[in-house]
């Protein structure tokens, strides 16, 4: 089978000079003869098509009617059940759909069955006739000449300089899109020595004794909810996940020995990849999973990355308890939270 189906790979010539191949081409038989449609031959079919189009338009009218039934028969107020709202959405939608389909299918059916269906050939024209090009070239030459821009380079060059400079204000004026452009604000969070860990969203402080084995608390700094300005910005950096593990399971690196309290550890909830909240805590494997891009952090190894696109461990918040037994931060995070940025270092 295969052999005779292959064409000859290496005859001659290039595509651009394929002139000699022309002789080998088949004769174009031209457009196929027109085949009349049923509606062209049979007046009854024509009448039927006409009726069908009219019926389709009538269906469209019914669709519009249905829309208004849905619109006026159902009022929305506090007591509206969700199912009523869904019914209204359905009626409005189906009404619109029928109204549109009726018109659309009707018109197309009309065009297909009743309008002439003879295919017509139209000649293509040269996109750019040569004489036009010559005229245009001459015209542009004249324009340039009359303007004198070629003869007077001083004018030309100063104009270019002025034009380039004139664009700068249009860029510079956007400087105040942000009043603050100091990257160092990304290094600080609300956490500081003695700030209590509080429940998200209520803002009530947490006692160390509340955090039992296997628990996961979603934590904000106490006082966050009282902020009037910048609450979400502060929250976006400060959210913390608090968990308690068997202290024997923690592999603590030198210098961090006192960052946990009896196996209670606090880590930034903001992924070091691109900043989603890493909130999925598996209490038996001690893995933290980010639902956006599946970065997985191992809590027993100080949130080292074990899977996914993140490259850095989650920053740990050093914690201890105050005199009343509430969990408090020892300090702010020791490294910036969240995704990397150029100035992070």
């Amino acid at each position: 089978m295969g052999d005779h189906s292959h064409g000859d790979p290496n005859t001659s010539g290039t595509v651009a000079t394929a002139g000699q191949a022309e002789v080998e081409k088949f004769q174009d038989p031209g457009l196929p003869p027109h085949r009349p449609r049923l509606a062209d031959k049979d007046p009854r079919a024509e009448k039927r098509a006409e009726r069908q189009v009219a019926i389709l338009f009538a269906i469209s009218m019914l669709g519009t009617l249905l829309f208004f039934v849905g619109y006026f028969a159902i009022q929305l107020d506090e007591t509206t059940a969700i199912s009523t709202l869904r019914l209204q959405n359905l009626l409005l939608g189906m009404g619109t759909a029928f109204a549109m389909f009726g018109i659309g299918i009707g018109i197309v059916h009309w065009a297909k069955t009743l309008m002439p269906d003879h295919e017509v050939a139209e000649e293509r024209h040269e996109i750019r006739p040569e004489e036009d090009r010559q005229v245009a070239e001459k015209m542009i030459g004249q324009i340039l000449d009359e303007s004198g821009i070629k003869r007077r380079p001083l004018i030309r060059n100063t104009l270019i300089g002025a034009g380039v400079l004139a664009i700068l204000p249009a860029i510079g004026i956007f400087r105040d899109l942000s009043q603050n452009l100091n990257p160092d604000i990304l290094r600080q969070t609300m956490w500081a020595k003695g700030v209590r860990l509080a429940r998200d969203p209520e803002g009530t402080p947490i006692k160390a004794a509340d955090v039992t084995m296997g628990s996961a608390f979603h934590v904000i700094p106490e006082g966050l909810n009282d902020l009037h300005e910048g609450k979400l910005e502060a929250k976006a950096k400060a959210v913390v996940l608090l968990m308690r593990l068997d202290p024997a399971d923690l592999n603590i690196s030198p210098g961090r020995e006192d960052w946990n309290y009896n196996g209670i550890v606090a880590y930034s909830k903001i992924c070091t990849h691109v900043g989603c909240p890493v909130a999925l805590y598996e209490q038996q494997t001690h893995h933290l999973l980010c639902p956006c891009h599946q970065s997985t952090f191992d809590l027993t190894h100080e949130c080292k990355v074990i899977f996914g696109p993140a490259a850095r461990p989650l920053p740990q918040l050093p914690i201890t308890v105050d005199s009343e037994g509430y969990l408090v931060a020892q300090s702010d995070f020791h490294s910036p939270v969240g995704p990397s940025f150029w100035e992070r270092g």
């Binding site: 064409g7 174009d28 359905l90 910005e233 696109p309 270092g345």
Partner: protein, 561 residues
């Protein structure tokens, strides 16, 4: 003067005629009617996707205008008092509250939101399918290269329009989407942090972003889309539409139906049909239930946080990239500055490669083939096997990244491990395009061979005939001239080896071009020539030896080189 006299000569008889004449004599409408009234458009289903895109854009403008009357793009804090019980009293932004009001307290508001969002998904999808059609049929070739570029710009603008709109309701899903964008922007060396702060008016999330995106979404981006559409359609009229090759269809004509009445009726009717489909979706299928996600708050997140489909491939690339291989992290600190390749590479490189190839493809192909002629006849994808293979490779590469964006849902729905899905997709990211290229190219070549078979021997009828000497053969029915012409009339470029330049030297660039030309056209199936057909028919009187005849014909051709 003469113009005045000619209008004076014509006196309209009806009142409609008088109005028409009034407008015409002041605008020159007659010239436009003369130019466009009977302009020919070819008819093929695959030519309709551009129209689908245009119509979904019109639907977007209509439904979007309705939504702007009720939406309030403010990030000021408020407490919800509307009629959706599970959110009453909850603290949220005004933007989110007004979107809830549109959904629950404005009659038809929910429907319009759903129409708008479904139309947006359809808009980007139809732009993409339209571009695929143009690519696979070679409609981007001269003189349409610039219009292809305009189309590419439209695709990017469509993505921009979609993304800016997605972020407006300030719900949990879009807020986390913005946060991902913020993380990606911050990874840009040197300027990333500043861009992020300028965009958000300080730190993420700030109180400015929704208002800013709103202006981009309802003013700047749609205005640019409109401008690009105008250019796109203007060039379409200048070029006239392409057509598939076939009897009576040449490079010098365009065969189809005149705008008035048939094409206008079909295209006009089709607008209503597209609107009907969108309305059908909006009536029956819920889209972006923002009340499920809740207001944006930087602490919570929902499982299955994904962008709309058209951003999915970037999100998937982000998921596929390993941050650490062994003990080697893809993040470096150089001279006190952090370079996050684990974010930058997946966010920029695949999209960069796809769009660079997309924009430059007409010139790449022109350079490889050295074909600078105008092409108004399209290629059937099988008749350009290498281009088809490369296109399929691109599509598969895109789809692997796209699938990666739903790796968690693949895991839960097919009961496999999330990690394994990622590992497999990482492999496919590299292997998929290669396999796709080879398979698609082979399929295209096989289809060409099948076409040759049919052209030479006619169609298999399924009728088995027993010859007097006992042999069974299947009767082949010869094609009529029109079908025959469809199968034999295509261009089949051949390898153009590297050519020496004027100094008789072959430059490195030219060598590369020669190699690419071989890659493109080494495997080729030539169209049937009249001589081959003649040979096949000579023996064809006796169907029994038809097979051998073709064999001989091919031999003849091979030895003829």
């Amino acid at each position: 003067m003469s113009a005045t006299s000619s209008t004076e000569n014509y006196v309209p008889k009806t009142s409609v005629g008088r109005i028409a004449n009034f407008v015409d004599s002041r605008t020159g409408g007659s010239a436009m009617v003369k130019e466009l009234g009977r302009k020919i458009f070819p008819d093929h289903w695959s030519f309709m996707f551009g129209e689908v895109a245009l119509y979904s854009f019109v639907i977007l403008l209509l439904s979007g205008t309705f939504l702007t009357f009720f939406f309030n793009p403010s990030m000021a804090e408020t407490h919800y008092t509307g009629s959706y019980v599970p959110l009453q009293g909850v603290e949220m932004s005004v933007a989110y509250a007004s979107t809830l009001d549109i959904s629950f307290d404005v009659r038809g508001g929910l429907f319009m939101r759903q129409v708008h969002h479904w139309a947006a998904l359809l808009f980007v999808a139809s732009v993409s399918v339209h571009m695929l059609r143009v690519f696979f049929t070679g409609a981007f070739r001269r003189p349409r290269e610039l219009n292809w570029v305009v189309g590419g710009v439209l695709l990017i603008l469509a993505l921009a329009a979609g993304f800016t709109g997605y972020s407006l309701p300030d719900d949990l899903l879009s807020g986390n989407g913005l946060r991902i964008i913020d993380g990606v922007i911050k990874a840009i060396p040197l300027v990333g942090t500043y861009i992020s702060m300028l965009l958000f008016g300080g730190e993420f999330p700030g109180t400015a972003i929704v208002g800013r995106l709103y202006v981009l979404h309802i003013l700047l981006v749609p205005a640019m889309i409109l401008l690009m559409i105008a250019i796109h359609l203007f060039m379409l009229i200048v070029h006239k539409h392409t057509q598939y090759p076939g009897p009576g269809r040449t490079e010098n004509n365009v065969v189809g139906y005149p705008v008035g009445p048939v094409y206008a009726a079909k295209a006009g009717g089709f607008f209503f049909i597209v609107f009907g489909v969108v309305a059908l979706l909006a009536a029956n299928f819920q889209i972006l239930p923002i009340w499920d996600y809740g207001p944006y708050d930087p602490s919570p997140i929902s499982a299955g946080t994904q962008p709309d489909w058209y951003i999915g491939f970037v999100d998937g690339a982000l998921r596929l990239m390993p941050g650490v291989i062994g003990n080697f992290p893809f993040e470096f600190v150089i001279l006190g500055h952090t370079l996050s390749l684990n974010v930058l590479l997946p966010a920029l490189v695949p999209a960069g490669i796809l769009f660079t190839l997309l924009f430059t493809w007409p010139w790449i192909e022109r350079w490889v083939t050295r074909d600078d002629r105008e092409h108004h006849l399209l290629d059937r994808p099988r008749n350009a096997p290498t281009r088809t293979g490369i296109g399929v490779a691109g599509v598969i590469w895109y789809c692997v990244m796209w699938a990666a964006a739903s790796s968690d849902l693949i895991a839960t729905h097919f009961h496999v491990s999330l990690n394994d899905v990622t590992y497999w997709l990482r492999v496919l990211f590299f292997l998929g395009p290669i396999v796709g290229y080879i398979v698609a190219k082979r399929i295209a070549l096989a289809l060409q061979r099948k076409d040759r078979e049919i052209a030479l021997h006619g169609r298999e009828t399924g009728r088995i005939v027993r010859l007097p000497h006992g042999e069974f053969i299947e009767v082949h029915e010869p094609l009529d001239d029109y079908h025959q012409f469809r199968l034999v009339n295509f261009e089949s470029p051949e390898v153009l080896p590297a050519q020496p330049d004027a100094n008789g030297r072959i430059s490195g660039k030219e060598k590369l071009r020669g190699r690419l030309s071989r890659l493109f056209f080494e495997d080729r199936v030539a169209p049937v020539t009249p001589a081959e057909l003649e040979a096949a028919h000579e023996h064809g009187h006796h169907p029994a030896i038809e097979e051998t005849a073709a064999e001989t014909a091919a031999e003849t051709q091979v030895t003829g080189r």
